[in-house]
């Protein structure tokens, strides 16, 4: 039963990783941007919530109503300015370095402003609430909510991409931006929309992280690593793959921790490497265009 519980905890953790990873997957899938500041954006979301939400008198658990729109707008502006000018240079290294620089600046600015101490988003008694069907199994309410949010976000994104005209625009631009321009799509605007969605999801992930555990200026880097692993395990370009990737990573970490608490992170990395070795394009790789 303890093993079953480990798997269950892994699935819950995986939902969180998937929520983290979907923005990363979207930015890479649409613009080819590997956003090294992705994890730091989540940390910023945490601080924005801690600073801004109290002044709105909303309960902290509804902080997303404040933070997500700010991040979506910020994502659009960031894409149309800094990221687009880096992409215009035509060298993939430029945008990688820009996001790397952004990550360093973010981390140090947060250190300066908030110190290295960990913070969390206070959600009151919800943090301790859990479902306990027996002595061994314990499902934390907030972790379950995060998993449900992850599934809903990924499912909605998948639906938007496949069924709506905005989704088709995003897929067309991801496929061939030159051809997309030819049918009347302004690819820069579509890039902006994709970045807005990506940052809205990373804001949710940042809030989830602040509610489940603690965050500090340096948390972004490790978050980025897990998000990367989830995307690569699932297969770049597949949103459901990202969910499965997150869950595989989460379960691997929890099983590792069950064997020996020191093995938690290592087990995740080992599974990531194993997937890379066996299926280098990930479990649900989207077929590369001929």
């Amino acid at each position: 039963m303890t093993w079953f519980n480990a798997i269950l905890q892994g699935i819950l953790l995986g939902g969180f990783y998937a929520l983290f990873a979907c923005g990363l997957s979207l930015l890479f899938g649409v613009m080819g941007i590997i956003n090294l500041a992705h994890g730091d954006f989540a940390v910023i979301a945490g601080y924005v919530a801690v600073v801004l939400v109290p002044s709105t008198h909303l309960p902290m658990v509804l902080g997303f109503l404040v933070v997500v729109p700010i991040f979506a707008l910020g994502g659009y502006i960031l894409q149309r300015t800094l990221f687009q000018s880096a992409l215009n240079r035509g060298d993939p290294l430029t945008i990688l370095l820009v996001t790397f620089g952004l990550s360093i600046i973010t981390e140090n600015s947060l250190l300066q402003a908030f110190s290295a101490n960990g913070q969390s988003i206070n959600i009151g008694s919800l943090i301790a609430d859990s479902i306990n069907p027996n002595n061994v199994i314990s499902i934390s309410d907030i972790s379950l909510v995060v998993l449900i949010v992850a599934v809903v976000v990924l499912g909605t994104l998948q639906l938007v991409l496949s069924r709506t005209s905005i989704g088709r625009m995003i897929r067309a631009v991801a496929d061939d931006r030159e051809a997309a321009e030819l049918v009347g799509i302004n690819h820069r605007h579509v890039f902006g929309i994709a970045a807005a969605i990506a940052l809205a999801t990373v804001a949710l992930a940042g809030l989830a992280s602040g509610m489940i555990t603690e965050f500090a200026p340096s948390t972004g880097t490790s978050n980025l690593l897990f998000a990367f692993e989830a995307v690569v395990i699932g297969g770049i370009g597949s949103l459901w793959g990202t969910l499965v990737g997150g869950i595989v990573l989460g379960v691997a970490q929890q099983i590792g921790a069950q064997i020996n608490p020191a093995y938690q992170i290592l087990a995740g990395h080992v599974v990531f490497l194993a997937v890379l070795a066996v299926r280098s394009r990930g479990l649900f790789a989207v077929r590369e265009a001929a």
Binding site: R168, G184, R287
Partner: protein
């Protein structure tokens, strides 16, 4: 409607030492069908790129429907009514054939809801792709890719279509099918400018032929006369000008 749909005035463009357009002026009337020939490197595709907005001329103005469009990007020009096909088709590989046309109908022609679906279907039907609407575009063969390239351009609601070697690599019956589509476009008042190496396809479909060499128009007029022009024969020296057996 202005008497001239597309007007290029003294367009120049060079890449280093290579001149692709030199003081080039030309105009295309609504509903006209114009063929564009010339040796490789004459600047034909670059001319299309400048009209479609992929390339900025170094000098000169490009007007469409009476408005100067030099500063507009390709997406804005498409929405104004300039449709283009590429020599090597560029379908959205991971989208279905229908979605390819639908996205053009919605974004290029600004159609919404049922109207956009009808428009997409109509363009696919016209290009004989109706039985492949649910196929992934990446799985299509060359002929169907060329058909889709044309269908997508048509779905975007163009008043001017730029066709870049759509007949290349096709068999004679396939070329005939394309010529029929071009003829039907003219009948509807859509102007066509068509670059083609398969000259016999052009002669059957256009009423005016331009020959471009080193970025300059060296002949312009009735297709058969242009092909007989000594200057045209000169630039094609060593190249077979297959006008026999027009379709």
């Amino acid at each position: 409607m202005p008497a001239t749909l597309l007007e290029l005035v003294r367009i120049s463009k060079r890449f280093g030492g290579v001149v692709v357009a030199h003081d080039l002026s030309l105009s295309v009337e609504p509903g006209a069908a114009v063929g564009l020939v010339g040796p490789n490197g004459a600047g034909k595709t670059s001319l299309f790129s400048m009209v479609a907005g992929d390339l900025r001329p170094d000098a000169g103005t490009i007007s469409f429907d009476g408005a100067v469009v030099n500063r507009l990007g390709p997406a804005a020009r498409c929405r104004l009514g300039i449709g283009r096909t590429y020599q090597v088709p560029k379908p959205f590989e991971r989208m279905t054939v229908f979605e390819n046309a639908l996205v053009a109908a919605q974004q290029g022609a600004g159609a919404r809801g049922q109207d956009s679906h009808h428009r997409a279907f109509a363009s696919l039907e016209r290009c004989n792709l109706i039985d492949k609407v649910n196929r992934e575009a990446g799985s299509l063969g060359l002929l169907d890719r060329k058909r889709l390239e044309l269908a997508r351009a048509l779905a975007s609601g163009p008043r001017l279509v730029l066709l870049d070697e759509v007949a290349g690599g096709l068999t004679q019956p396939e070329v005939r099918e394309l010529v029929d589509i071009v003829r039907s476009l003219r009948a509807e008042g859509t102007a066509v400018v068509w670059i083609e190496h398969v000259v016999r396809a052009l002669v059957g479909a256009v009423d005016r032929l331009l020959c471009l060499a080193a970025g300059v128009v060296i002949a312009d007029g009735d297709p058969v006369r242009v092909l007989d022009d000594p200057a045209v024969r000169e630039v094609y020296l060593g190249t077979e000008l297959a006008i026999e057996g027009t379709v």
